[in-house]
Structures are given as C-alpha cells and as structure tokens.
Symmetry: C2
Subunit: 225 residues, 2 copies
C-alpha cells in the first residue's frame, strides 16, 4: 500500500463520511474500513481524529480562500477608486467555494462538509475556522461596507450573517435542492446556484431598514396574551 494512496484514501473517505454523517457520528474504524487502510495509519499520518478533520477542511479551503482574496483584489484593481460592486464582492466570495462541486472526484462532499462546519458551534472547530478565515472575513467585510455606503455597520453585520446562513445551508443541500426544485442537472449547476444566491443576498443587503419594532410593540402586546 503506497503511502500517497494511504493518506489520500483517508482524507477523501473522511471528507465524504464527515460530510454525510457529521464528525461525531463517524468513527475512525468506519473511515479505515471504507478506505481499506489500517487504523493506526490515521494517527501516524494525522495525529488525531480532530487533526484529520482540520486537514480535510484546510486542504481545499485554503486554496479557495486564496482564490477569493485574489478575485477581490483583482476586482478592486479594476474598480480603481470606486468600491467594488456588491454583486462582484458576493461572486468572489461564493464562486470559488461552490465551484468545488464541479470536480467529479469531489462532488458535493466538500461543500456539504463546509456547510456543516460553518454551522458548528464546537469551540475547537470555530477556533480553527476563524484562523482559516482570518484574512477573508476582514477583507470581505470591508468590501461589503464599501459597497453599501448608506447602510449602518450594525445592519451590514446582521445581513452578512443572514447571507452566511443562506450560503451554508445551500452548500449543505446542493444535491437535494437540484432535485427538489426540478432544476436541470449539468456541470454549470453551481453557477446557477451562485447566481440565484447572489440575487437573493444582494437584494437582502440593499433592503430598506425597517424601524425597530419597539414602537410597534404597544400595539402587539394585547395579542400576545
């Protein structure tokens, strides 16, 4: 059993199984059985189950984040002194991530895994993800602020969060969605998905801010009882 195969087998299998069932529900024995490698190889190559997860995530997410940042930098160069248009910012954020699905060797597994991971409140995982996103978050946050000059920072942050939820949920359910909505399935699906997601989130970012509901509360109080 060649070593390059062993590591890749473990990584690819872990990616699929973690995506399918979640980190806690997948045992190392499950992974090595499917990958046809030895149980001790996991610790030899990756040190621990937790580190395996980090490696599975980082091996694809890092290049994706580099691509995101490069795309944004290019867009900013093109825009000169003006801010980058909101749709372009969102495209730079979403496309590299969704494009992974088009790789026939990966399919929906990595997307699903990232969607899950983005949702996970486990402290170690969050710490790890924050470090992986340490450049992406501030740069895209600044680009969003610039693209939405009239929107208070607080609102931008809330809407960024809604956007992240929509994105993560879509990552998790990409295959299901296609079947559920009757969309035609071909290699450009992720592009249609991204376009739709941009339409939705860009409009959400640009939505007029409603007044706080505190004023309306006097009217609603009787109905609450």
């Amino acid at each position: 059993m060649a070593t390059a195969d062993t590591k890749s087998q473990i990584l690819d299998t872990a990616e699929r199984l973690f995506a399918q069932k979640g980190f806690d529900a997948v045992s190392l024995r499950n992974i090595v059985t499917v990958a046809k490698v030895n149980l001790a190889a996991v610790h030899y190559h990756f040190g621990s189950k937790q580190s395996l997860l980090h490696t599975v995530v980082a091996r694809r997410l890092r290049p994706i984040n580099e691509e995101r940042l490069a795309g944004l930098a290019e867009a900013q160069t093109k825009a000169g002194k003006r801010p980058v248009k909101l749709e372009r910012v969102l495209e730079c954020l979403f496309l590299p991530l969704f494009r992974v699905q088009a790789d026939p060797k990966v399919g929906p597994a990595f997307s699903r895994l990232i969607g899950r991971v983005l949702f996970d409140r486990n402290a170690d995982l969050q710490k790890f993800m924050m470090s992986e996103l340490a450049e992406v978050i501030p740069q895209f946050s600044a680009a969003l602020d610039a693209a939405l000059p009239g929107l208070p920072k607080e609102e931008t942050d809330w809407r960024s969060h809604f956007m992240a939820g929509a994105m993560a949920h879509t990552l998790c359910n990409a295959d299901l969605l296609v079947r559920f909505t009757g969309t035609d399935a071909d290699a450009s699906d992720y592009e249609s998905t991204v376009r739709r997601l941009i339409d939705f989130t860009a409009a959400g970012f640009r939505a007029k801010v409603s007044p706080p509901p505190k004023k309306a509360r006097a009217k609603q109080t009787p109905r609450k009882k």
Copy 2:
C-alpha cells in the same frame, strides 16, 4: 425524586446539551449526570436516545407550528380575497419560533437546537422533521407563491431555501450575534432579529431574477483557465 421532575429534568438538560454540542456528541451519561437522574430513567420514560431527541424537539415545536398556522389563517381571513402580504407571511413563520428565546427558562437553547436540527441531514431526523412540518410547509409555500405572483415556482423554492438557511443560522447563533454586532440586549431582541430577518428575506424574495449564467459562460471561459 418526583417523577414530574425526572422527566422535565431530562428533557430540559437534553435540550441544553444537544443544542450546545449536538446530538451525537452528547451521551446519555452526560445528560443524567447534569440532570441528577438515573441512567435507566431515560429508557423508562423515553425508550431511546433517539426518541428523547424527538420529544425534546416536538414538545416545543408543535405549539410553535400551531401558532404559525393560526397566525397565517388569521392573516388570510383579514386579507379576504387578496393574498397575504409577504412580510406578514414571513412574520407568521419566524416570530413564534424566535419568541421561545424570550422565555427565561429556555433562553437560547431551543432555538439553537432547532437551528441545528434544520441543518441536519440525518435520515431519521429529517423524516421526523418532515412529519412535524407536514402542514406548515405546504401552507406557507402556497402563501409565499400567492404573495409573489410574478415569480416562477422554481425561483420561489430556491429563495425559500435561502430563507430557511438564513433563519436556521440565526437561530443557532442568536446569542453570539447580539454580542458580535453590538446590539443592545433586552427582552425584545428576538423581535429586532425577526424584523431584520424579514427585511433581508423579503427583499431577497422580491429580487429581480438574473438571466441564467449560461449565456455569460462563453465570456468567462478564458478567465477560468
């Protein structure tokens, strides 16, 4: 140890721990240790760990769904022959669910749990949730279609999905969000959250539909290499 206490202790503790760490990462021994009850009580009262989760979810979600449906029915009565306004549909969907957070005995636990559960692709859990939402989904789907008469059904479905993602993510991170965005914390927080979520999602639903990216693909192909 009175029996009413035992069941409630288990349910409340399970709710908190499942919300915090996820179903698979919380053992029954973890729950009974925190709840100060006996391990066998779980099987006596609930039959299995899986059933415990269902009970934890259903005990709050059922009244929430009834409230959702009642609110929608009332709005439809008021609207007469016209469709219910989009914002009102979304309000009927979100408010009952977010309002649970305002109960001091519950806090963010149930919201977080529901957010997690809505994201979970586990087959048993999905089946359970589909049955719990068996009336909500078709009725709200129809109300959304009626509120958005010019939007193709396929687009409404995609946008409903984005909306669900934004909602679930917000449920999972309600407490974090408040801290992260510097929003003032008081009893009406969930109402502000819901208002913001409605602003974002309503605008997303009403967004103009972009042309499919296939036409633009010829232009993008060189840049992909």
